[in-house]
């Protein structure tokens, strides 16, 4: 039974590799092949979540103590659920988006392979296995970042390599430091680090791991790769850099905080304070940069930088309320942000407009796209009846429980960031629909709503947002059970 755990990893990797090698006659056939593989994998994931196989599947022994193994626990379910839900949507979106691009076989091959590898990150049973999939994730997404193969793309790819591999190397050192004290154990909820006297060695190890994984989670000052990576085709930015890759970073951070080092070791220490401060600062920083940024996708990238730190902040509060708040934001943000990126991408793909001022009045011509954008924007800002409000309230409530000035700083950052979010998302929605009379704007016949392959994901995502916004009780309960072991 637990053998099935390897399937969600292998299936997309095989499918992706095959799709590039097999001489599939037409793009449509290839799209169909990929669609089948992705949907099949998502169904597989659903099956796994329902069946809940327990036990550890050992893949390989790297040395006597260091073992690559897989396991499905509550946190894996959360992450797997997120990617399982979003990947098919993103693939359909990509089919329409990439119609006018080149090098599609390579693109879809790596795109699909990264699905399997992200599943690997989710299913890892210990730090080294996760580290392994983490490195692979970088490697397999580099070609996607560099896809356009122009100067910008190559520079972005180099930056991505530099930051990601550097971060992973730092985490590796941190992991080895932990192992030297605690042994190479599998994940245990609550951590397996020896608790006793406050130990600088372990705290430094934690901070190295936090910063190392924080690179993928775009924490200040290691966020620089994310806005540059915005030059990649939108399916990449949307799915990978808003969901899979960056959420892997956050996921890895949560794993190391809660399942390796453990809140008992870290609570109240300077390491926790440093982590809280960094994440609270990034929350503000990302939002402020987003407001200044006029390039649409880069603005959304900075918004991601900010929102990821919401999750890290919640996790670093080191309370179960904080963790469930963080997880709720991990899920909701994934949905909201991918919607925003999809809208921006649709506009870019159909009309070639990249910059925010260029969207004035476009709402009249592309009403469905901009309506989706408005709803997602309201959601991210934290309007009640949409999911962003719920995760923000959870985070604020969890933070208020602590009597910690750093937590207070985080609360203020969160609220300021909410205001900045409103400022960088909502006015552009207003201006998209409402144009002052007498202004001269020209539109071509390319400026219109996209086809069904993009509209259906929009619809599904809006539905998901509304449902979670109004009725997230069951989800929150599930998260709390998870969080309590």
């Amino acid at each position: 039974m637990k053998l099935f755990l390897i399937l969600p990893i292998l299936l997309p990797m095989a499918a992706g590799a095959l799709s590039a090698w097999l001489p599939l006659p037409s793009p449509k056939k290839r799209d169909g092949f990929i669609a089948c593989a992705v949907i099949l994998n998502s169904l597989l994931i659903l099956l796994l979540i329902l069946l809940k196989p327990s036990g550890i599947l050992t893949l390989l022994h790297l040395t006597d103590s260091i073992v690559l193994s897989l396991r499905l626990d509550g946190l894996s379910v959360v992450f797997l659920g997120l990617i399982g839900f979003l990947w098919p949507l993103a693939s359909f979106y990509a089919f329409e988006y990439m119609e006018h691009e080149e090098n599609l076989p390579r693109f879809f091959a790596f795109y699909t392979m990264s699905y399997g590898i992200t599943a690997g990150v989710a299913l890892s049973a210990n730090l080294i296995t996760m580290y392994f999939f983490y490195e692979l994730l970088t490697l397999v997404t580099v070609p996607l970042v560099a896809h356009e193969e122009d100067h910008r793309a190559m520079r972005a790819a180099r930056k991505y390599i530099l930051y990601s591999i550097g971060g992973a190397a730092l985490s590796f050192v941190g992991i080895m430091m932990l192992y030297s004290r605690a042994g190479a154990k599998d994940y245990i909820f609550g951590g397996f680090a020896p608790v006793g006297e406050v130990d600088s060695y372990l705290l430094i190890a934690y901070l190295l791991t936090f910063i190392g994984f924080g690179v993928k989670a775009a924490i200040f000052p290691l966020h620089g790769w994310l806005p540059s990576a915005g030059v990649a085709p939108t399916p990449v930015t949307a799915l990978l850099h808003a969901v899979a890759v960056v959420k892997s970073g956050v996921f890895a951070s949560i794993r190391s905080t809660w399942f390796a080092f453990g809140p008992e070791l870290l609570f109240g220490t300077w390491a926790q304070h440093a982590a809280l401060f960094l994440s609270a600062f990034t929350i503000l920083f990302g939002s402020a940069m987003a407001l200044r940024e006029q390039h649409w996708k880069r603005r959304l990238a900075y918004s991601t930088v900010s929102n990821l730190s919401y999750i890290l902040f919640g996790s670093c509060l080191m309370t179960s309320a904080g963790l469930s708040a963080a997880l709720s934001h991990m899920l909701f943000h994934g949905i909201m942000k991918i919607t925003l990126f999809f809208c921006a991408g649709t506009v870019l793909c159909k009309t070639g407009r990249e910059y925010v001022p260029q969207t004035e009045g476009l709402g009249r011509k592309m009403p469905l796209t901009f309506a989706t954008y408005l709803i997602a924007g309201l959601a991210l800002t934290g309007t009640p009846l949409l999911p962003g409000y719920i995760s923000k309230t959870n985070l604020l409530t969890a933070a208020a429980q602590l009597n910690d000035p750093y937590a207070l700083f985080g609360i203020v950052s969160l609220l300021l960031s909410a205001l900045l979010t409103a400022a960088y998302l909502l006015p552009m929605s207003v201006r998209a629909y409402i144009v002052p009379e007498g202004s001269s704007l020209s539109f071509t016949e390319k400026d219109r709503d996209p086809g069904l392959r993009m509209l259906i994901p929009f619809g599904i995502l809006i539905l998901a947002m509304v449902i979670f916004g109004v009725h997230s009780g069951p989800l929150m309960d599930a998260l709390s059970t998870l969080v309590h072991g």
């Binding site: 009846l385 719920i390 959870n394 409530t397 208020a400 609220l415 201006r431 009780g473």
Partner: protein, 498 residues
């Protein structure tokens, strides 16, 4: 008769659904069918509100949970009774007014859709029974009234709309800060007389909670035009169409007042806040706003902008009374809520009529207007007198109570400074309102009478104007209003504080 608690939602759902119908139903796209429908909706809302207030007083409804700790609760209590009736009445009057006014605007569908949906959100604020519900309705009220602000789609109005949006959100997020802290230090997030703070838990954390309360009140104060988040008001009220301005000034600002009342009396509790630096600071800020608003109005020449500054000033009278936290002052505040809503509503409708008929937006252009539109200017005059506070008009009574309440309080400086500022502001108010009347009726010897044309508006405009004016001068029949105010105050404060 067993009344179903879900009927509490009717005042919210009815206008909401009507608004959606106006937006999407193809049958209502024709103006001839839309107008009666809108009137029907507004009237229906008003009636259903009154019914709910009468029949379901004291009932509450736990609708659902958005998340385990975020409950949606509605109830009909004293504040609801006071504000919901007033709000839906004003909305009805403004709606009748708009029938003729909107003839010279476009995009009726959008206007009326958000007009109705905005009313739903406003009533939601009055019917909220706990903090999250209040926040929800508050936020949606901003969003749903926003399109009314930028309705005319000029660049100025779009910028004003964005300003409205961002200031309101800034305020709302500051207001949101209260929820997590009350979740920790309070027993519940529902509105409870006297506050929800648990004395055991708050021990030692008073400083933090005071700061949070201060932030929350200033935040909700944004909607009321309280310094420092007032700057949106002079930008937004002038550019909105007159029916919308009347409601923004007259009713939407009161939503902020409701929120502040809730925060002070039903969440943190007046006992917790009375005598602290928070109270002193808030009193100072409100007096500052009163003075500042009046001065700015005095210097401002654009008609509607002058009135907007006036609102900033007048609403802070109300807040001043609330912050004094004694029953006399609170009575004064509530009286002034009535007076200001009715009178300012009337004034804005008059201004709107004048602009609609003559296209004159600057005060200095209004010489001799009394000859052209005598009825309108008479209504304007009476409402102005009410607002200034000339006895025996309503405004006088409210200011009297406010001054009394201030003196009663015994605050070191504020207790006498308050009445002084109120007096100065009253003089300034007279200074910026009455000259319009005077120049309107007596333009002076050198005026060219030949340019005058009789331009009285139709009944659509006149009827609401007259009704409002009459009510604004309600001192002629003070009993029912005073009784209402006294009962409400009693219910809110309940003899807890002297």
């Amino acid at each position: 008769m067993m009344t179903n608690r879900f009927l509490i939602l009717v005042p919210i759902l009815f206008p909401l659904l009507c608004g959606l119908a106006v937006a999407f139903a193809p049958a209502l796209q024709a103006g001839s069918r839309r107008r009666p429908f809108v009137l029907f909706s507004l009237g229906g809302t008003f009636l259903s509100t009154i019914c709910v207030l009468l029949l379901l007083r004291g009932h509450s409804l736990h609708l659902c949970d958005l998340a385990p700790s975020i409950e949606l609760r509605f109830a009909v209590d004293e504040i609801t009774c006071f504000f919901a009736g007033l709000g839906s009445f004003m909305w009805l009057m403004s709606g009748i007014f708009s029938m003729e006014y909107m003839q010279h605007e476009t995009n009726h569908t959008r206007f009326y859709a958000f007009f109705l949906m905005g009313e739903a959100s406003m009533l939601g604020v009055t019917l909220s029974a706990n903090y999250p519900t209040l926040y929800l309705c508050f936020e949606w009220m901003t969003l749903l009234t926003l399109p009314l602000v930028f309705h005319i789609q000029s660049e100025e109005s779009i910028q004003a709309g964005i300003k409205y949006l961002l200031y309101s959100f800034a305020g709302a997020f500051a207001g949101l800060m209260g929820i997590p802290f009350l979740a920790k230090y309070g027993t519940t997030l529902n509105f409870v007389h006297g506050g929800v703070l648990d004395p055991l838990l708050t021990e030692g954390h008073e400083g933090l909670l005071l700061a949070v309360a201060f932030a929350a009140i200033l935040g909700f104060g944004a909607k009321t035009g309280l310094f420092p988040l007032h700057a949106w008001l002079p930008a937004a009220h002038p550019v909105a169409p007159a029916p919308a301005s009347a409601l923004l000034s007259g009713v939407v600002t009161k939503a902020g007042v409701i929120a502040i009342l809730r925060v002070i009396y039903y969440l943190f509790g007046a006992q917790f806040l009375a005598g602290t630096w928070v109270q002193t600071a808030l009193l100072t800020i409100s007096l500052l706003t009163v003075f500042m608003g009046s001065s700015m109005a005095f210097r401002e020449n654009i008609f509607k902008k002058r009135l907007a500054y006036s609102t900033v000033s007048q609403v802070s009278y109300i807040l001043f009374g609330i912050f004094l936290m004694n029953d006399t002052a609170l009575e004064g505040s509530l009286l002034h809520v009535l007076c200001h809503s009715l009178a300012k509503g009337g004034i804005f409708l008059c201004a709107g009529t004048i602009i609609y008929k003559t296209d004159k937006t600057d005060v200095r252009q209004l010489r001799g207007i009394g000859k052209e539109m005598p009825v309108v200017l008479w209504c304007f005059t009476l409402c102005s007198l009410a607002l200034v506070g000339i006895p025996p008009m309503s405004g006088f009574m409210s200011k009297w109570y406010l001054a009394l309440g201030s003196l009663e309080n015994g605050f070191p400086v504020i207790s006498w400074l308050g009445p002084v500022i109120l007096l100065i502001s009253a003089i300034l108010t007279a200074g910026y309102l009455l000259p319009i009347t005077i120049h309107g009726f007596f333009p002076g010897a050198d005026f060219d009478y030949s340019t005058l044309v009789k331009k009285d508006p139709t009944l659509w405009i006149l009827v609401p104007l007259l009704i409002l004016t009459t009510l604004a001068a309600f001192t002629l029949f003070p009993q029912p209003f005073m009784a209402l105010v006294e009962n409400t105050t009693e219910a809110i404060i309940g003899g807890m504080l002297s």
